[in-house]
Amino acid sequence: MLILGIETATEQVGVAIGGHEGVIATFEVAKGRRHAETLTPAIEFVCRQSGIELCELGCIAVDVGPGLFTGMRVGLAAGKALSQALRVPMIGIPSLDLLAFTCRHVDRVIVPVIDARKNEVFWAMYRPVPGGVQQVSPPTVGPVDDLVGDLLARSQDVLCIGDGAERYRDEITEGFRCEISGPMYPSVGMLVLLAHARALREEGVRPDEIEPIYLRAPDAQINWAVRGARP
């Protein structure tokens, strides 16, 4: 079965096609932050260069975040549109899972960290298990200090990866001695491989069942009456 993967949850735009023979074609651009302008031409390019027609696809895989609101929305909208038009199922995989899976061969706790802007980061913790990774602490959003506190509390050998780990390298290593290396962004090739395995197990869902992971602050009614009240 051929899978089209779409990854737009970070600054990177990634498109890949793969199947039982592995990843066939990959397109990744990590500069410019032009998700809306880049994504559709990228899908067309990848299909044309690999000689694959859209109608041959059996499943659409998307990175469902957490990550950039603006980027995720572009990727999810495009993925859902394709899924509906082609009448094929979708598979959503979290960005943090993708990052962690790339480092599944290390013998340490893996902590993917994605830049959430406004001086906050998304992170979760994983440990390597045979054949993949297992999440040991759930996805969280918060200031870098909270991440460092979390690392200190766990107090184990840790590998931090992702654009958030890179950006806040000094803050993290100052608070907790750990290694920061590995990929900056989730790999869209990895997305296709993981999705293929799940598609074979018939874990695909309808497009309306795919939801982005925002991890944002709790919703509340805007209190217009106290508008302007000083903190």
Binding site: R33, R117, D219, I222, N223, A225, V226, R227, G228
Partner: protein, 192 residues
């Protein structure tokens, strides 16, 4: 920092001065009652950056974007019509700023921490200042979970563009603190 302008031209001049100090990644909150000059400020700000299209209030379209170059887009948002903080989050305004943007947010003072570091520009009719204080005090006595009310309108000339305004500048977070001296110099002639 408290400024005073005598007319619309003054509001435009202050906006232009702040535009000269603003840079990519900035979020600027425009606060104040209806007719206080929030959109006028946005117009002066946009002109100073080189926007040639008419700048109108985005109350019903939520966000207007004015691409100025590959490196800069001015986004003008108005959250007056929104009722929930998740609606504000959906607009992802800090991301728009981070992506080669400068973002102006009318009524953004209700959004609190959702906007991250920002500069708050509060515009007030000078004649209204006392009335506003009374209004705010009365508002705070009301239960917090009351239905969303329209902001209190305290005077009949709210939509008038003429008249003296007080403009209060306040930095929220460190992004603007480092530029405070430059802002102070840029708006020196309007200081109270």
């Amino acid at each position: 920092m408290l400024l005073r302008v005598d007319d619309l031209t003054g509001t435009h001049a202050v906006a232009a001065a702040i535009a000269g100090v603003a840079r990519v990644g900035d979020v600027i909150v425009l606060a104040g009652d209806m007719g206080a000059g929030k959109t006028a400020f946005a117009q002066g700000f946009g002109r100073a950056l080189g926007v040639t299209e008419p700048i109108t209030s985005p109350t019903f379209t939520l966000v207007h974007s004015y691409p100025l170059s590959r490196r800069l887009t001015l986004h003008h948002a108005d959250i007056y019509r929104l009722e929930r903080t998740s609606d504000i989050d959906d607009l992802a305004l800090p991301e728009l700023a981070a992506f080669n943007g400068i973002v102006l947010v009318e009524w953004g003072d209700v959004a609190g921490s959702a906007l991250g570091d920002h500069l708050e520009v509060r515009l007030n009719h000078v004649d209204d200042v006392d009335d506003d204080d009374d209004g705010d005090a009365a508002d705070r006595d009301e239960p917090v979970d009351q239905p969303v009310d329209q902001p209190v309108v305290t005077s009949g000339d709210d939509f008038a563009d003429a008249g003296t305004r007080e403009i209060e500048l306040r930095a929220v977070g460190p992004a603007w603190a480092g530029r405070w001296d430059r802002i102070a110099r840029a708006v020196e002639s309007f200081r109270c």
